[in-house]
């Protein structure tokens, strides 16, 4: 039986909620709205001074600002590619740097996604070092697997340390899915490759004999069943190592069954894919799905000679003389309406913000962003 609330008490509660909403919305008001609100407030104050006390804060319609108001933020650290070559190795130091940066966030993110490729060669020592460093994160961590973690022992050590690679969870009204989207057709059994040979073949990005990443039939079935339980209006965020679209096949910036996965996500109103593997800022949109890449802590990759999604504002090429340039970590802010704003925290550069508002305006919106960042929407591959 609901607790009976006195009218005066209820009024007070409503007032507090409205006040909290307004204070939260204020920093996100557009200039126009702020001026409008100020004018109205001034008008009310004048009236109030004449003896008409205002008790409601709902002076203006903040509905527009409310939908794009942030709901919660998560952080990510990804593609650390740790090698077992001593604790002063640049990849280890970069991973530690990212953890320190995430820990310095105030307020802390709701959780931290690890985007995959914790190890470089999938060795237990490499995974252990990575796990130890990530343990220093104050916020809870959600792990995702990459091909560098998987193909030495087909994920045996990963499962032992981090559990099943495919799972989903709810968080503040958003349905999160974590996939193992680096499933590759077996090409190692027949030529009798050793585990390390298989790992090295998978580790070589420009391997001319590589096979494309897939989510695979088994996982697509799992995804279908998982999504069947989710309301179509619930915002969905998919974490995936491979991009879940087709960018550049020779470097496996590619998911071969992307269309089938996208079809499973098509009925949902708001879907965002956060993917790793590409080590560069990337933005793409297809129908109801927005795709954002994440940064690597270890090294940046050049943009591929073709296939770049047209919404992407490219970061200017990294300076090789600065070992952290083009690398970093980032955050994903879920908005009230379920879309996301993406932030790339590039080390030694200004952070790069890609908001849903810009993405929704298409190339025009992104060109405005490019002008702001003095980046370039059509930088030639070099």
């Amino acid at each position: 039986m609901p607790k009976y609330v006195l009218p005066k008490e209820r009024e007070r509660q409503e007032y507090q909620e409205a006040r909290a909403d307004l204070l939260q919305a204020l920093p996100h008001l557009s200039r126009r709205d702020f001026l409008s609100m100020s004018a109205q407030a001034a008008a009310v104050a004048t009236v109030a001074w004449k003896g008409f006390p205002p008790h409601s804060f709902q002076l203006i319609n903040v509905a527009e600002a409310k939908e794009t108001a942030p709901k919660f933020t998560i952080a990510y650290v990804s593609d650390t590619h740790i090698l077992d070559k001593g604790l002063t190795h640049r990849f280890v130091r970069a991973c530690q740097k990212a953890v320190q940066d995430v820990n310095a966030l105030e307020p802390q993110p709701d959780f931290v996604l690890f985007g995959g490729d914790l190890a470089q060669l999938g060795k237990p020592e490499e995974l252990s070092i990575g796990q130890q460093i990530l343990k220093d994160l104050k916020a809870p961590v959600r792990m995702m697997v990459g091909e560098h973690d998987w193909y030495l022992d087909m994920g045996e050590k990963w499962r032992e340390m981090f559990g099943e690679p495919t799972y989903s969870f709810e968080h503040k009204g958003v349905h999160f899915i974590v996939l193992n989207s680096v499933i590759v057709e077996d090409y190692w059994t027949e030529p009798k490759m050793t585990p390390m040979q298989r790992m090295l073949a998978m580790a070589q990005l420009d391997n001319p004999h590589g096979r494309p990443f897939t989510v695979g039939e088994a996982q697509r079935d799992w995804l279908k069943k998982d999504l069947a339980k989710v309301n179509k209006k619930t915002p969905v965020v998919v974490f995936s190592h491979s991009p879940l679209y087709k960018y550049y096949r020779p470097w496996n910036f590619w998911t071969d069954d992307a269309e089938q996965v996208q079809a499973l996500l098509a009925p949902f109103a708001t879907v965002t894919v956060i993917h790793a593997h590409t080590h560069q800022p990337l933005t793409n949109r297809f129908k109801n799905i927005t795709f954002h890449g994440v940064l690597s802590t270890a090294w940046p990759w050049p943009y591929a000679p073709k296939g770049l999604p047209e919404l992407t504002v490219q970061m200017v090429r990294a300076d090789p003389f600065n070992q952290f340039d083009g690398c970093g970590w980032g955050t994903v802010t879920a908005l009230q309406d379920g879309q996301v704003n993406k932030r790339y925290n590039l080390w030694d550069r200004n952070p790069m913000d890609v908001t849903f508002e810009q993405v929704s305006k298409g190339r025009k919106g992104m060109e405005q962003l490019a002008a702001q960042l003095k980046g370039n929407i059509s930088w030639p591959s070099y």
Partner: protein, 202 residues
């Protein structure tokens, strides 16, 4: 047999043997196999390449060609020769064998460079060039030489390769004429075939 007799015998044997050998050589010397003339009034003239020939008609047996006719024959022979010529190289044609040899050797060096480019043994920390430069992308070798501001001097491609070896790869730098350096340069440059040179472009 006397000692003098033995010496004579040895010298004779060498002479005979040498003579046989020489005759053998002259018998094995390549000869231009000219096709037979059609009739008594035709003559086949062969070119020094050992392959090309021209048939001259309307000649009496033993007749010496007039200068203008002789010039016409020579011009025709040279015309046929030029038509076969693939690469002008001091006027000598490259043979198929030479072409195969140089292409195989170039491939060997480029493949060696590919292997080194993808090898973690060049450095000491497990990092290889292809990790940042898949397919040698973003190496832009066609822009060298250029003033490399971070090095504060004009750099050649090999200077940048060495910088990468010493820094992100933490390895010992290679001498400019080290076969490994040459091979890596060959591979990197081979990936930019057809891209116009733009030295000095930053």
């Amino acid at each position: 047999m006397t000692r003098w007799g033995r010496v004579v015998m040895i010298v004779a044997a060498i002479t005979v043997g040498g003579g046989v050998a020489v005759r053998g050589l002259s018998e094995e010397a390549p000869r231009h196999q000219l096709p037979a003339p059609a009739d008594g009034r035709s003559k086949v003239v062969g070119l020094c390449d050992g392959e090309t020939s021209v048939t001259v008609t309307g000649l009496a047996p033993g007749e010496r060609m007039a200068p203008d006719k002789a010039q016409a024959v020579a011009s025709e022979l040279m015309g046929k020769y030029d038509a076969k010529l693939q690469v002008a190289h001091g006027g000598t044609e490259h043979t198929q064998r030479e072409t195969r040899v140089w292409e195989a050797e170039l491939k060997r060096v480029v493949d060696e460079g590919y292997k080194l480019f993808h090898s973690p043994e060049i450095g000491t920390n497990g990092i290889s060039c292809d990790m940042c430069h898949p397919d040698a992308s973003i190496t832009h070798p066609e822009t060298y030489p250029k003033f490399q501001s971070q090095l504060k001097k004009v750099a050649l491609l090999r200077d940048m390769i060495n910088w990468c070896i010493e820094n992100p790869l933490e390895g010992p730098k290679l001498a400019d004429d080290d076969p490994k350096m040459r091979a890596m340069e060959a591979y990197i440059l081979s990936t930019r075939k057809g891209v116009p040179l733009d030295p000095g472009k930053h």
